[in-house]
């Protein structure tokens, strides 16, 4: 279908070559200006600063080498690595599991309500989610305080001990983001042809076997999509550690994640070149991930 439509568009372009061409460019002009100004130029700027020194001379890779030698650099990478592993595993297992269970629910109405409940925390994305969770993790006011006491934590400081941070950040991210993904997975489950499921049932497959051999394989491209986007977003972690560091009585450092380190280089240490070097590294990660996905997955058929 896509090739046919492209074909007819081509034919039209041949009939009225420059009228259509000029009009097309006029329609996208505003967007292209924004794309250049706030997509391409900042990338260029980041690269420029990353490869020059404070006197604007070419500096080779020295900003990358020097920023990597900073005592905060390797710990930041380790933190983000542990965080990503926990967050991605939780996301894949729980989102897929919950979507499958929701899809089994006999009462449709109820399913819609449950999905909406799961989606609500999305409204608290950003700083709000962190503030809410600071309360949730403070045993003096938390509705889960008996649970926290059960785990042996009596004070806020004990709950947000440095060793717990990766799990806590993953939990906050899961709380705000998982609902949207559950809705997406649910939609994808609805798109599985009914007769395939029916055939499996007639052959005596139970819910577990259907999930294992039909639903999960057919969800696979969505799971991959989710993991890739979540990986790219998770690598940029900023607001959670930033706010926790402001609220933790100094337990969590200001330089938990690479993005925080870039921020501190730029705004605390006045070294925009080191900041740009870290930004470029993060940019390369996102860009490579996005490019592989767009070109390899056939997910977006850019006809």
């Amino acid at each position: 279908m896509t090739s046919a439509t492209t074909g007819s568009a081509r034919a039209r372009a041949r009939r009225a070559p420059w009228r259509a061409v000029g009009a097309g460019h006029a329609f996208v002009a505003g967007y292209v200006i924004l794309l250049v100004a706030f997509g391409l130029v900042p990338v260029g700027y980041g690269i420029y600063f990353a490869f020059t020194n404070a006197d604007n001379y070419f500096a080779g890779f020295s900003n990358f080498v020097q920023s990597a030698k900073d005592f905060r650099y390797v710990p930041a990478l380790e933190h983000i690595g542990v965080y990503l592993v926990i967050w991605l595993i939780a996301l894949v297992v729980l989102v897929t599991g919950l979507a499958l269970v929701l899809h089994q629910l006999p009462v449709r109405r109820l399913g819609g309500l449950v999905r909406f409940f799961y989606y609500i925390p999305g409204a608290l994305a950003g700083a709000a989610s962190v503030l809410v969770w600071l309360f949730m993790l403070d045993p003096t006011v938390s509705p889960a305080s008996s649970f926290l006491h059960l785990l042996g934590y009596g004070t806020f400081g004990q709950v947000i001990a440095p060793g717990h941070l990766a799990v806590l950040f993953a939990m906050i991210a899961f709380w705000t983001g998982a609902g949207g993904w559950i809705v997406v997975m649910y939609g994808a489950l609805n798109n599985i042809p009914h007769d395939i499921m029916e055939a499996a049932r007639i052959d005596g497959a139970g819910a577990w076997r259907i999930a294992r051999y039909i639903q999960i394989p057919m969800l696979r491209k969505w799971i991959v999509y989710m993991v890739i986007l979540a990986f790219a977003t998770g690598a940029q972690l900023f607001v959670e550690p930033q706010l926790v560091s402001e609220a933790s009585m100094g337990v969590a450092g200001r330089d938990y994640s690479p993005n925080q380190l870039a921020y501190d280089f730029a705004f605390q240490n006045n070294n925009v070149n080191y900041a740009a070097a870290i930004s470029v590294e993060l940019l390369v990660v996102s860009l490579v991930v996005a490019a592989i996905f767009v070109t390899r997955s056939r997910f977006f058929d850019a006809n």
Partner: protein, 312 residues
């Protein structure tokens, strides 16, 4: 639909002798109860913090500690918290909310004006560079918004716009995901024959867009508007970096500032401190508009029609 899922197996079970691989099910009840329990546990996980937040705003700090976490305080205390909160730095909370609204809506307006024609042209017209633009849009769309914040700061700083409205609004209004959604919408919803007929009748490209595409565009305008508004309103990092003065903060950055004035979270907080219920109320106010939009959009949010349309 789901209910008939059980029927064929049951019928088959009665007609044919029981198959060896289907064990008798003492766990029939467990099979129903366990998934329900799992769903319920997660309902509590997702909803309880929101419910707690709503209730916390109606209590005093002492009640927050002593009373049942899920008890209602009083309307009077809510009023007291409101007065205390709005008293903080001379009603700065309302200024923050106003700032959030200005940033979110100005950026939303620019996003719509720019994205709808662009997505339409990429779907329905042929022009040089179209494919490259599409691929670039996809790649940028998959990059998290936070990636470019520090480089954007360097750029905006160079043109001396840091600390202005535009340092936040212009980067917000660049919203490739909106262009992609529009592209998908017109590719699938608008028959090309309709446009061809209009062109044959002498309609200009702009006329065809205005008379045919725009009247059909209401759903996609709503969808792009929804995602753009939520993304703008909840963005923290960009305004945090771009806006130096607290009077310019949007609510998201404002509540983070309030946090540093809560003594329980920051012992160095000096005079003019903020109590925890006031912080809870401020958080509620800061998320209120998005929560309202969610409630109105409830039906389409959970329909699953959006498979593929959600970007986190």
């Amino acid at each position: 639909m789901r209910t008939d899922a059980v029927a064929p197996a049951a019928v088959g079970g009665r007609a044919v002798p029981p198959r060896p691989r289907r064990r008798p099910r003492p766990s029939r009840a467990a099979g129903q109860v366990l998934p329900g329990l799992l769903l319920l546990v997660f309902v509590v996980f997702f909803v309880l913090p929101v419910v707690w937040l709503l209730l916390a705003a109606t209590k005093s700090d002492a009640q927050l500690v002593q009373d049942n976490p899920l008890s209602f305080g009083s309307w009077h205390q809510l009023r007291v918290n409101w007065d205390e909160l709005t008293g903080f730095q001379g009603n700065v909370i309302l200024l923050w909310l106003r700032n959030s609204a200005v940033y979110a809506f100005v950026a939303l307006a620019i996003t719509l004006v720019v994205s709808i024609p662009a997505g339409y042209a990429m779907a329905m017209m042929e022009f040089r560079g179209r494919r490259a633009l599409l691929v670039m849009t996809l790649v940028v769309m998959l990059m998290p918004a936070t990636t470019l914040v520090v480089p954007l700061f360097l750029e905006i700083n160079e043109v001396h716009l840091v600390g202005t409205l535009w340092s936040v609004v212009l980067p917000f209004s660049f919203y490739p995901f909106g262009v992609y959604l529009t592209y998908i919408y017109f590719s699938t919803a608008l028959p090309r024959d309709l446009l061809a007929a209009a062109r044959i009748d002498g309609c200009s490209e702009f006329g065809a867009f205005r008379r045919i595409a725009l009247p059909l565009a209401a759903p996609i305008i709503a969808l792009v508007g929804f995602f753009s508004f939520v993304a703008n309103w909840t963005n923290f990092f960009l305004p945090y970096v771009m806006l130096p003065q607290s009077g310019q903060y949007p609510a998201q950055v404002g509540i983070a500032l309030l946090l540093t004035d809560v003594p329980q979270f920051n012992p160095t907080a000096g005079a003019g401190t903020v109590l925890r219920p006031e912080l809870a109320l401020a958080t509620l106010l800061a998320i209120g508009p998005v929560l309202l939009v969610f409630l109105f959009a409830q039906r389409f949010l959970v329909s699953g029609l959006l498979a593929g349309a959600t970007k986190e």
